[in-house]
Symmetry: C2
Subunit: 200 residues, 2 copies
């Protein structure tokens, strides 16, 4: 491949991914088609089929492109030494992002494709969710070392317990997704359901 061919190819790839992301926001996932993406990107639909096996795979790569562009480096969580405060900041930001109409349709598309497609789920777990989960566990590990989390807590379960309720409430639309809800999730996860015998 000559440098020019490689550059043209990369330009087409980005045009396709951008078109897919934009169309998702405009029309939603059910109406998204390879034909529509090709028309918007100004490429033939065979070009898309040559590089991606499904529209779910296109969406996945669009997310990957976006996350690389905005983050540049592995994700980290704030660590001020105050676990409750840091989790509150992070969960409120997550709630805000989930309520942002720009991300609504693309994130739903990705979530449902992952639910239906085991291969895509594996790619998602490895390339997008994995680094993020590791950053979450890392923040909890630091809290555990500081004595703010009990030694016998499984950090993977802790991550599921803090982020799971927010993700569920958003995905299944099972209730209002507010900063107050995020705060309650943080305090309930940290304190647990059982009555505490002694004040801290």
């Amino acid at each position: 491949m000559t440098p020019n061919t490689a550059r043209r190819r990369e330009t087409s790839r980005r045009a396709i991914l951008t078109a897919a992301f934009d169309l998702l926001q405009e029309t939603g996932y059910a109406k998204l088609s390879i034909e529509g993406i090709a028309a918007r990107a100004g490429v033939g639909k065979q070009t898309i089929y040559r590089w991606w096996p499904s529209k779910g795979a296109v969406i996945f790569d669009a997310f990957l492109m976006l996350s690389e562009a905005t983050e540049g480096g592995p994700p980290t969580l704030p660590d001020t030494g105050d676990l409750a405060a840091d989790l509150t900041v992070v969960l409120r930001a997550t709630v805000e992002e989930m309520n942002d109409p720009r991300y609504e349709q693309p994130m739903r598309a990705l979530a449902t494709e992952i639910a239906l497609d085991p291969e895509l789920a594996a790619a998602y777990a490895e390339r997008l969710d994995g680094p993020l989960k590791e950053a979450k566990r890392q923040r909890l590990r630091s809290a555990q070392q500081a004595g703010q989390i009990a030694d016998d807590v499984d950090l993977g379960v802790a991550v599921d317990m803090i982020w799971g309720p927010i993700l569920n409430r958003w995905l299944h639309r099972s209730g209002p997704l507010t900063a107050e809800y995020a705060d309650l999730v943080v305090s309930t996860a940290l304190n647990g359901l059982r009555p505490r015998r002694s004040a801290e």
Copy 2:
């Protein structure tokens, strides 16, 4: 409508819902079509379109028929007086159901349709998930009255925290869904992440 017409109609309705559920298990949701359901049920596809606006709506009614047939009465959770033991039994049963290949495809279909369709999500929240959530809250309320859950715990958040991680792990295929995982979720939710100052 004569009694005979009503009976024939109910027979067709059940045949369609059963066909939809069976086909889902065989082919998965992506390949499920109204044409396919009609052929399997032995009805014209116009009959289906007359009663349901989408394949998601058919699946929803199939679940409703199934849950009415198997449960007969509002759902309740076991209440032996020992909250941890009861939750462990219930969560292990949930994990087992989610790992049952018979439910895999239909439950994924329902979950993804709810994620994409706000109207279906509202119907699901009211008719299927609502009564179940109320049963869960009721069990926690009884524990709260018995002093096993702190007075200031929001029971809605508690329900999300106990069942959310299991549902997520299943839907996003983010890790093995085992009895051990269910047990860890119960103990972590009850005890919280913070170290406990005094033994119980």
